[in-house]
């Protein structure tokens, strides 16, 4: 009991609490508690305003240009391919995105596994080579590739666009998959080896299934990067049209509302897809707990 005098760290601290007999101070509303969510809410609003605008104008009964509101219609949604070239450009984008995603995911996954699981000379150099495309602005990548294609007289088109997209997607795939590989216990592969699996079947039966979520994430990331790319595409596509390129080029003349339909539909699709994955994941987690 004699220790009481030494126990208070600083008289002010203890006195900061309410005095005995004073009414108990309940937890009060604090500015900071509400400020951050309010700021974040405004930021989300900022993020979503142009999307709302795009969706709204997909229902515009536009004539030639989709600049002013002229009345509600469902015609654009009924026939998204009504405007010439919109659908062809969109189809091209899907094709480029899918092809580039498959190639970039395959190349990037192999690189990621090698980088995490093996120590070899020149590892730092390989890491640097993967980091560099990410730290190079698209306009430089585009210009470099165009200079290369021109000097080799490669005809510009689908394959030059795909080749360019694979190049800038690989780095993102490596980084995404690497995080997943690093979180895997290498003892799992050793356990597989212990249970008579050769290196090849250990990879396919143990490592690969565990990497799948990371690989899927990387594939989705590279598809979205490819699908939305304009600058590199603009340099490497020649007369080949992709959706962003079509929108950019037609911006001067006025974008047909069908483009808004496609943009809105893609947004809705992404939303539904991710929410579905989310809900399925939650249901699985519940089932596992039960």
């Amino acid at each position: 009991m004699t220790a009481t005098t030494t126990t208070t760290p600083r008289s002010g601290l203890a006195a900061g609490a309410s005095r005995p007999g004073a009414p108990v101070r309940r937890r009060t509303w604090r500015l900071g508690d509400a400020l951050v969510p309010v700021l974040a809410g405004l930021a989300f609003l900022y993020l979503l305003v142009p999307i709302a605008y795009t969706v709204a104008f997909s229902f515009n009964d536009a004539g030639k240009t989709n600049l002013v509101w002229r009345g509600f219609t469902l015609d654009n949604w009924a026939d998204p391919c009504g405007a010439p070239q919109v659908c062809r450009a969109f189809g091209n984008s899907l094709l480029v995105g899918a092809t580039a995603t498959v190639l970039a995911t395959a190349l990037g996954t192999l690189l990621a596994v090698a980088l995490v699981r093996f120590r070899f000379r020149g590892r730092a150099l390989v890491n640097l080579l993967i980091f560099l495309p990410m730290s190079t602005p698209e306009v430089v990548l585009g210009a470099a590739l165009l200079a290369q294609f021109l000097s080799l007289r490669v005809p510009l088109g689908f394959w030059t666009v795909v080749a360019a997209h694979v190049m800038f997607c690989v780095s993102f795939v490596v980084v995404t998959v690497k995080a997943r590989v690093a979180s895997l216990d290498p003892a799992l592969e050793e356990a597989a080896a212990d249970l008579y699996a050769g290196p090849w079947s250990a990879f396919w039966r143990v490592t690969f299934p565990l990497l799948l979520p990371g690989i899927a994430a990387a594939a989705l990331l590279s598809f979205s990067l490819s699908f939305d790319d304009f600058i590199v595409t603009n340099f490497t596509s020649g007369t080949y049209d992709t959706f962003p390129k079509f929108v950019y080029v037609s911006a001067t003349r006025g974008i047909p509302p069908e483009a808004n339909v496609i943009g809105s539909a893609m947004f809705a699709l992404a939303l539904v897809l991710v929410v579905a994955v989310q809900v399925a994941g939650a249901a699985r987690a519940r089932a596992r707990r039960a």
């Binding site: 126990t7 208070t8 203890a14 005095r19 009060t28």
Partner: protein
């Protein structure tokens, strides 16, 4: 302030939705004591600790530290410090910066000297410049302790701080913690599920179960005079047998246990009439083989049969099945080396009547459920 406890909880209740984690808890922790909150996981002891630290807000009740009400005070304004179960050392700061963190916040003078002294107290004077990740588990634990002690809090809270250490290190740290507590003279409130840890370290132990304190007192008193089935079983082991009080007088109860007369000192009985549970600790019991007779003033049960013999170094543990009563455990010191009674032997059990205790018979149904998690 002399009379006031360092920490006083009055009617403190915490509900999470429909679940009551802490139920109208009243508690006074005297200044300068080493206090242990002991209980199985989920009994509400960690929630209680977090409410004292201000990290949870009680649904009802008040908490006072050093005589002032801190119920509505935010954690950073409370004169308490916590040694977290996971240590929660800041990974981006050096060991010395971790220890000096609280002093810098309160603008205490001479931070460097205090940090150095605190690190020397936990024998880590050399490790100030290292990062927490470079230290072993035991060293990290001591940094966490130094980080809390250095602030000289009115109450120092320890949330199962030794749980992550291996057995040998844990025993060593228990002694060191005790030593440090005496040296600095702070009030320690230690939460643990390890009954041996609570008993070796604390002056006062409160056994918690289902959000309530079952019994509180010095370790020896709790062990010798358990007042509930839960305490009797959670703190060490107990042999319990139901019986009916048949006579009372001269400070002694006579209890009929399956036809045997067992004597219980009235002062050691929670209930003095009706159905009771007669109890005795296994190390108090001795085995009578054929031909051996009990001494004067001893209770006797049996005959029964030895169903298990396990050698545990310092002692041998027997399980003896008593028909109509149940299975009793007996710890026999290996004074002569090894087990002396063979498996299957017919035996009787005897112990001094003064070591018998009696619990309320209605207590039997509940209380025994949490035993499995307790170990």
């Amino acid at each position: 302030m002399a009379g006031a406890g360092a920490l006083e909880l009055t009617g403190v209740t915490k509900r999470f939705g429909p679940f009551t984690a802490v139920d109208a808890l009243d508690l006074v922790v005297p200044s300068g004591s080493f206090f242990a909150l002991l209980g199985p996981s989920g009994c509400g002891k960690t929630t209680t600790l977090r409410m004292v630290a201000g990290l949870e807000h009680p649904t009802a009740g008040t908490i006072a530290i050093g005589g002032s009400d801190v119920t509505g005070t935010r954690p950073h304004r409370r004169p308490v410090n916590t040694v977290f179960q996971s240590y929660a050392l800041f990974p981006h700061l050096s060991v010395a910066e971790n220890v000096g963190f609280g002093l810098r916040r309160t603008r205490t003078p001479e931070v460097e000297r205090r940090v150095r002294e605190a690190l020397e107290l936990v024998e880590l004077g050399h490790a100030g410049d290292q990062r927490p990740a470079q230290l072993s588990g035991g060293q990290q634990q001591r940094v966490a302790l130094a980080r809390a002690v250095v602030n000289r809090p009115a109450v120092l809270l320890l949330d199962e701080p030794l749980g992550a250490l291996d057995l040998k290190l844990r025993r060593q740290m228990q002694i060191e913690l005790r030593h440090i507590q005496t040296e600095v003279g702070l009030t320690f409130v230690h939460v643990t599920h390890d009954q041996e840890e609570a008993m070796t370290m604390a002056d006062t132990v409160a056994v918690m179960n289902r959000g309530r304190i079952e019994q509180m007192g010095p370790p020896a008193e709790l062990y010798e005079h358990p007042r509930t089935v839960f305490v009797a079983n959670f703190l060490g082991q107990s042999n319990l047998a139901p019986g009916v009080v048949v006579e009372e007088g001269g400070g002694t109860l006579g209890v009929d246990v399956a036809g045997h007369r067992v004597l219980v000192p009235a002062a050691r009985a929670v209930a003095a009439r009706g159905t009771v549970l007669v109890g005795v600790r296994p190390e108090k019991v001795r085995i009578l083989v054929a031909g051996q007779e009990p001494g004067p003033g001893e209770n006797v049960l049996g005959p029964g049969r030895v169903t298990d013999v396990s050698f545990a170094g310092v002692s041998t543990q027997y399980q003896v099945e008593l028909p109509g009563i149940g299975t009793f455990g007996v710890f026999a010191q290996n004074l002569l080396g090894g087990a002396t009674v063979p498996l299957g032997a017919p035996v009787r059990l005897a112990w001094a009547a003064a070591h018998t205790f009696a619990l309320d018979g209605r207590d039997a149904a509940e209380g025994t459920t949490d035993l499995d998690e307790a170990s």
